[in-house]
């Protein structure tokens, strides 16, 4: 059984490039050379973005894999060996895709005005991956693959480690278990070797949602106040960061910002009934007054307009409040409209 995961290929050794396209393609991560051969490449350069040394990490991973399979293969059948390797490879790739998506969503904060379509598509991808991860219970497989080797958690794949994992894990896998901002701080990514010193828990769901997904495309509606708040958070977090970042924008200050926004100000959520409500709980700190700002802004267009239909203006009930209306309001307005039409037509 072979699971094909689009876009991933393995390279034998030498310079590890993120993309397999022609040289003209822009790489988000950086290219670096590994001392030894690597047997599997995933999107490790995103670890670079997140401030770690992936090369070292990758070597450890690959050696560990080799060791495991060479030592233990007399006990395992070939088929399950291949199956386990493929399955864990798929999970790793999926995890990497998730991380990549989260980073993209973070980066869109930095842009002048984010492309809403792109943000929505990336956010949908993130949701999709996380839904699948919950249903799979796939973290079981990942932990099994690694636990046997006795590798210390710090040698695990960078991608999973950068995202802080909750210390208080429940028995069942949780989709959006995150830790509070304060607790996370001690585990933040610093310097090179040791990443988050996390304990291996039986059931892992260490997805730390970039909770600002919703805010990503609200950015165009955010006022300066909100952005100042974020900048404040970032500056608090950013002190100990080792910044080996080579993002598209080339701004070296994006590293700490990225981490800061990944962690955000979340609380531990327990017993969330399902992905959607967990999502909403996470976003519950979003100030909904900005929606009003938006409606106010768009309503402002209509306010000063004077026209030949002022009579209708005064008759319409919802005129005072600028209206980007939800459908129920529209329909009642349309009923009013019909009424007005009857008056005009003189029926």
């Amino acid at each position: 059984m072979k699971i094909s995961f689009p876009g991933f290929r393995t390279r034998s050794c030498g310079t590890l490039l993120l993309t397999e396209c022609s040289a003209g393609v822009r790489n988000v991560g950086c290219s670096f050379s590994c001392s030894g051969c690597v047997s599997a490449c995933t999107l490790v350069s995103f670890s670079t973005v997140l401030g770690c040394h992936p090369c070292f990490r990758l070597n450890m991973f690959s050696k560990g894999t080799k060791r495991k399979f060479s030592d233990g293969d007399e006990e395992l059948s070939d088929e399950s060996l291949v199956g386990a390797r493929v399955a864990s490879s798929y999970s790793l790739q999926r995890q990497s895709l998730l991380d990549m998506s989260l980073i993209k969503l973070q980066l869109c904060h930095m842009l002048v005005e984010p492309n809403l379509c792109r943000s929505v598509l990336i956010a949908n991808t993130v949701r999709q991956i996380q839904e699948e991860m919950t249903h799979d219970g796939s973290w079981h497989m990942v932990t099994e693959a690694f636990c046997g080797t006795g590798q210390s958690p710090s040698e695990r794949l960078v991608a999973t480690e950068v995202l802080c994992r909750s210390r208080e894990q429940d028995a069942e896998p949780k989709l959006f278990s995150v830790i509070s901002y304060e607790g996370c701080r001690e585990e933040e990514v610093v310097a090179d070797e040791t990443l988050c010193s996390v304990s291996v828990s039986e059931t892992v769901s260490n997805v730390c949602l970039a909770g600002r997904i919703g805010q990503c495309w609200e950015k165009s509606e955010l006022s300066d106040v909100e952005r100042d708040e974020e900048a404040l958070e970032d500056s608090r977090l950013g002190s100990g960061e080792d910044e080996e970042i080579d993002t598209e924008d080339g701004a070296s200050t994006e590293g700490p910002k990225t981490i800061g926004q990944v962690f955000g100000t979340f609380e531990i959520k327990n017993g969330s009934p399902g992905p959607d409500s967990a999502l909403e709980e996470l976003f519950s700190d979003v100030d909904t007054s900005y929606y009003d700002l938006d409606t106010m802004l768009t309503g402002m267009q209509s306010a000063p307009k004077m026209g030949p239909y002022d009579l209708l203006d005064s008759l319409a009930p919802s005129h005072s409040s600028p209206s980007i209306v939800s459908p129920p309001n529209c329909r009642s307005d349309l009923n009013e409209l019909d009424h007005i039409m009857e008056i005009i037509v003189g029926s």
Binding site: E113, L279, S302, C330, D338, M341
Partner: protein, 476 residues
């Protein structure tokens, strides 16, 4: 399939970022070709009239007018810069000697009038020979004097009045903004489309669609037709500002955006809009003032065997175009072009693979953001062929009747003037034949997003980043 030869080459390779062409559009007669670029400029090309004197210049397009349409702006309320990049240009049908077009950036639409002047008036006698303005009272003087009682003497002094004469001058093409439609879009405008009544047009952003009247700039409209079938258009801005509004009350629930919209070429009350989930909705403005209920819903069921995490992204529709006949519409998603019969909603009638070899590269393309590239597509005048762009400066044409397709390249190196364009082929696997290009060698920075086909003839315009290529059918 017509055989294309290059007609016009860009004068020189230009690498300025502001010169990236962002839209290409022929006018209704095909005589004029407008391009917009990232720097907010519009360049209009005009086709040379064929003349016996210069048969070699048969149908060349030369620069007719250049003007700055939009300037960068800063939105102080949101602390965001508004790009001046021209997202779309649409021509209005010509009604008099002047030409009109609509150009849109992210937030503002402008109606431009392009008019010619080849004569100027000379001989105004408002100035002396030495250039000084004459005292107007000296030009014609009527003096009245009362010399005797009850007798009026009139002395009329009249300077000879010279009537100004029109003298020929070098042709001057002037562009002037006639209307500015602003402050109606919170999100980025992705489409504008002129209605078949030639009085209204629609503009679409990520979440809303506005209907405008070309004469009225301070508001956009909904159209409500009265209960009886007699159309009684009441223009109501305050109650229903948009004809389509898909913004959810809670922005975190947003999972789908509008990607393109177009008016039906003949039925002025019908329009379609496409979404990021690969669906198309056809709306009839007569049905409701707010078209939140579509008349038709087009969606192809997903193929479960090819499902991946990127399925939704690659199904996002980047362009939708009605055929000239109005019977069909064409949608472009990341890997394919689909032709839909307006009477069949559950699947397209034709599907053409543009670059299926990219399916195995989707993760890399996601990583470098190429998967979000918005390719456009276009019909030829008779609706028998369709064209769309790809990477490596390749563009593809599909003949709907013969089902043949061809891949051509828009590059200076690989095409000589007057020589037929050589078909290109991408090697998808196995042994690479001579002249084939392997998928890994494709340059993903060279993308052709914008193409246009002359409405009557086999002349095509292809925008390759900074350069505009115009190709013509050799047999013409």
């Amino acid at each position: 399939m017509p055989l294309f030869v290059p007609v016009s080459f860009p004068p020189s390779e230009r690498d300025q970022k502001a010169d990236i062409i962002s839209t290409v559009e022929f006018n209704y007669s095909g005589e004029l070709l407008a391009t917009g670029d990232k720097g907010g400029r519009v360049v209009i090309f005009q086709r040379e009239q064929e003349s016996k004197n210069r048969p070699s210049s048969r149908g060349e397009y030369n620069v007719y007018s250049t003007f700055q349409s939009h300037e960068p702006e800063f939105d102080y309320l949101k602390s965001l810069e508004i790009e001046e990049k021209i997202n779309k240009i649409r021509w209005l049908p010509q009604q008099n000697a002047a030409h009109f077009l609509l150009s849109a950036n992210d937030k503002t639409i402008k109606l431009w009038k392009i008019s010619e002047r080849d004569k100027r008036a000379e001989g105004y006698n408002l100035k002396d020979e030495d250039g000084r303005l004459r005292d107007p009272f000296r030009i014609t003087t009527l003096r009245v004097s009362l010399s005797h009682l009850f007798q009026w003497h009139f002395e009329l002094q009249v300077q000879p009045v010279k009537v100004p004469v029109l003298m020929p001058m070098d042709l001057m093409v002037e562009a002037s903004p006639r209307r500015i439609f602003a402050n109606a879009h919170t999100y980025h405008i992705n489409s504008i489309s002129v209605n078949s009544d030639y009085e209204t047009y629609l503009s679409a952003d990520d979440l809303r669609i506005n209907l405008w009247h070309l004469e009225i700039t301070d508001r956009s409209f909904s159209i409500l037709y009265a209960i009886s079938d007699v159309p009684l258009p009441i223009l109501l801005k305050h109650v229903l500002p948009y004809i389509v509004d898909i913004k959810p009350a809670n922005m975190e629930e947003l999972t789908e955006v509008i990607t393109a919209a177009e008016c039906h070429p003949h039925q002025c009350n019908v329009f379609v809009y496409s979404s990021s989930k690969g669906t198309i909705r056809l709306c009839d403005m007569r049905a409701a003032a707010l078209c939140d209920r579509h008349s038709k819903f087009f969606e192809e069921p997903e193929d479960p065997s090819s499902r991946s995490f990127f399925s939704e992204i690659i199904s996002s529709i980047s362009d939708v175009k009605f055929s000239h006949s109005g019977r069909y519409m064409m949608t472009r998603d990341y890997l394919s072009v689909k032709v839909w019969d307006l009477n069949m909603e559950n699947r397209p009638v034709e599907t053409y693979q543009v670059h299926e070899y990219l399916r195995s590269k989707l993760c890399s393309l996601y990583e470098n953001d190429c998967i979000f590239d918005k390719f456009e597509c276009c019909w030829n005048g008779s609706d028998s062929a369709i064209m769309t762009g790809s990477y490596n400066n390749f563009f593809r044409m599909f003949d709907r009747n013969t089902r043949r397709d061809i891949t051509l390249e828009a590059s200076r190196e690989n095409s000589k003037p007057r020589a037929m364009l050589k078909p290109r082929k991408v090697c998808t696997g196995g042994k690479r034949k001579k002249d084939e290009i392997s998928v890994d060698s494709l340059d993903f920075n060279k993308k052709i997003l914008h193409t246009a086909w002359h409405p009557k003839e086999n002349v095509i315009a292809v925008a390759a980043t900074n350069n505009l290529y115009i190709f013509q059918d050799k047999l013409n």
